[in-house]
Subunit: 603 residues, 2 copies
Amino acid sequence: MSSCHVAFIPFGIHVSCARGSLLHEAARDAGIALVSVCGGMGRCGKCSVIIEQGIVPPPTPLERQKLSEKEIASGHRLACQTRVQDNLKVYLPPASILTGWQFDLVCAEPGAAVDPAVQDIVVSLHAPGFYNPPSCREQLAAAIKNACGVSVDRADEAVLRDLPALLSESSGCVRASIRDGEIISVRPSGQGPLGAAVDLGTTRIALYLIDMLTGMPCAIDGIINPQITFGEDVMSRISFAMQHGAAELSKAVIEGLNQLIRRMCPAPHRIVEMVIAGNTAMHHLMLDLPVKQLGIAPYVPALCAPLDVKARDLGFDTAPGAYVHLVPNVAGFIGGDHVAMILATGIHKTSRTVLGIDIGTNTEIVLGHAGKLFSTSCASGPAFEGGHISCGMQAAAGAIEKVTIRDEVAAFETIGGMPPIGLCGSGILDAIAELFRCGIITKQGRMLDAPGMRALGNKKEFVLVPLEKSGAGKDITITQQDIHEVQLAKAAIRTGIEALIAEAAISIDDVKEIILTGEFGARINPASGIALGMFPPFQLDTFRHVGNAAGLGAMRILISKFHRALAAETAQRIQYLELMTCPGFHKIFANALYIPAKDSKRG
Amino acid sequence: MSSCHVAFIPFGIHVSCARGSLLHEAARDAGIALVSVCGGMGRCGKCSVIIEQGIVPPPTPLERQKLSEKEIASGHRLACQTRVQDNLKVYLPPASILTGWQFDLVCAEPGAAVDPAVQDIVVSLHAPGFYNPPSCREQLAAAIKNACGVSVDRADEAVLRDLPALLSESSGCVRASIRDGEIISVRPSGQGPLGAAVDLGTTRIALYLIDMLTGMPCAIDGIINPQITFGEDVMSRISFAMQHGAAELSKAVIEGLNQLIRRMCPAPHRIVEMVIAGNTAMHHLMLDLPVKQLGIAPYVPALCAPLDVKARDLGFDTAPGAYVHLVPNVAGFIGGDHVAMILATGIHKTSRTVLGIDIGTNTEIVLGHAGKLFSTSCASGPAFEGGHISCGMQAAAGAIEKVTIRDEVAAFETIGGMPPIGLCGSGILDAIAELFRCGIITKQGRMLDAPGMRALGNKKEFVLVPLEKSGAGKDITITQQDIHEVQLAKAAIRTGIEALIAEAAISIDDVKEIILTGEFGARINPASGIALGMFPPFQLDTFRHVGNAAGLGAMRILISKFHRALAAETAQRIQYLELMTCPGFHKIFANALYIPAKDSKRG
């Protein structure tokens, strides 16, 4: 038997795979993304699955480390460690699957100026005579000049390929899209222009399909970044690309976007412009640019400047002559998504002193003060996305997102009101803040004995949800290790905030507004953040949430040349601060590990 | 047996092919180009081969028309009609093969100004520090600006892909090629820039490999246009493209050029710019542009303007960021090769009244007079390239290129001094002019009875070379039909010349110089041309030959921005005359059919 058959439940998806291939590869082939923080190295233990039928090889030493005896006995295995050698029926627990998330997508304000880089016009051409007949391209250029005064000096080859037949089929009445003196698309006159604005995140990708005549969205949708099967965080993917090249990662994200486009838009050839805003690593990986130098100090990007590239050169299914505009990067860990976020929140133009914080595995922070923009990036790790947390999960249905502890009993809310299966970032933050408030953990983060606490050997844990109330088939707990992970994460963020405030030579009281963006930022309870010292003691009413600011910014850059120029200018203006080079970095970080924090400067 | 084995002699090339495939396909697979005027339709009879071993199906009706009983009995077949159903040994007669031609390639004058569109510079970069480290692209742009004051605002993606590793391997010392504000190539500093100028002919392709620093050729070579296996003339290829699409034709010519480049240049990635000059159909077919509208009046090109396109988009093996510049076309049958020819001969700037004539299947003619340029194209047919002539062949070794008849005996010279196997264009022209001078044919072109004449049924022919002196295995003859073909061809050319002279409102005495270009132009005896009336009775000393003028012009356009702009301006300046719309066209043509011609206007 050289190939085996694997059935994945609850999906009911069946695949054939080569005997000896890894189970997470079989899942990937089946189109199922499994959680993988470590990039399939067997270190995170997140891709746990249950073998329901069929024989698998004995557990590897890594599996024995990550799974309990009982779990192994009941069929649990790590998909990244298990080789397929038999026909299998495999159950995928919800916490191991990376699909079916909620998207928090905000629309553009109506009334925003529509002045896109691509101009669209319907023209009528007359059949040429015999005397010096102009070429099809010249006829069209003359008609455009005549109709709207715009001079074109180039036409995309795809336009030239379509034009003769289109002119003859349409009796000379055609629609043309013009960009910077180039005719990039010709279509029947009824096919108006569309655009696509993309927020290319490490974890999720959101696409706004825009009517380019009105600037309003026709459709908004998203997918999990298909690169996630090669590693969940930026560093895992850089590491994968250094070993295997970036081509596979580039292909995965572009194919994923093409599928999303086809799902959202029955006529992708009407898409005449795309704008993509992503962090620098996502930008480089999509373009198949080298990332090795992004993985080592001083983290030099291959490219920061805005880039316009033919969509077909990247493999996108759009109008064949369309361009993709990539929003400029600032530094190795400050990308175009940060620039787009600044534009969407207005931080670039406000006269107030404002902090913008996008919390993720890397947390990017901008401080706007006195006409200057200071930005930094801190390696906050995956804790607030559920990674490296024993019962952590991403913000999917069934994730505990709010926690209060009263009389030693935890009350919680889950996403979608489903039975709890794990904790997402805001739930973890709340839970630890509550444990601290109740005196169950110390300023150093050490767990004390208390009701609800239990010890397995020398490992302590607090039972947040006992088995009988859990949808996960086990207790949902907070461990001592979880608290350390959160301390590291919040200390990194706090250090970034402190460093920017010091760089601008202001005090925390000068900060009049704190804008939290992104998915975790939307769910977070600022009071818990302050209680743990992730944030300095800002006034609670200075916090504001702007949902999916990067996507909103990408949309503006799509529909407005003014905003496109502004993005380039803003990327240049930002002063990037490398935390490692900040004076006293190690001391600030060490103090920030305390709960809430030691030596917070005031005034 | 589902595949058969075919051995081609004299090449000694063996191929396997599917049972049932055509013999000319098997030859194509073997890399052997057979003559094919009709595009494999069985109508021209030029792809005659001899089956030496193995069984072939009975001759088709078309083969019975084109081959004599005796030929069929001795194993002659048409390669385009014969299906392979057995292992075969096939002899390819020289006249059926399209390889091994002489190339007549002329060098550029030394001292021509070198001012190419691509600028090359060696720069040294310093390793960036931690504070706001610029991207690799920004570092390179700054070093270029610093070294030569040139501002770049873009870099090709391929450059961005190579740059980080190149900077680290070369300690920051790299060579960059810059074109119009874009960095198109980075290379180790020792790898100087090369360019390629291509004369893309219907039949042959010449490539000049140029050192872009000195503007001088490093190598000159050529190939038969591989599209020739899809049809020998422009119309056959347009017809093939209309039935099967142009993609295969495009691929054939680009792959042929890639092979030529690899043969000529061990480091094709050093080629930073290409210039291609071809007729409008070759231009369109290479770009895979539609050609249907080129086949019907008013013969509208999809594109006339100059086009710059990334070499990799066309599939060329050059520097990955290099561009191909396509010399602009003028009309459906006046292409960039005509523009390049005008530049190379100086017709665009002379104050004299000059005719430039490039004779081929289509003959393009330009008249420069009083600062104006008038051009036309005439469908002269393939007679002067040996097509549609019973013993015709192209100008290869063994072709009779000069004929004199004295005392009813023909004396001749062959190319390469080989035994005669057929007649190339200049030989045909000489032979018919001599037959007319000797009174053996009338003004109407009718053959009279005379020594050396013989009749097969009602078909007359003149035996130029009897079997015993022939290398073709048969008599080399001139038939009545051959004379008609030449009359049609020379009448077309004469009509074009007359029409241009009429358009410019001058007389033939005003023409001070006649420049003949191209391969046939190099061999032709102008006196024979005048004797037959192909040319008006110009003074013989006004004729001049400029070899491969189109290639020379392409080379100038490669190494000089001035000449590139001049080509665009010249293409615009040319007034195209469509012969069909000229007053009295049919009468002029009918008169021109006479030998030498009736009613030639003088003064």
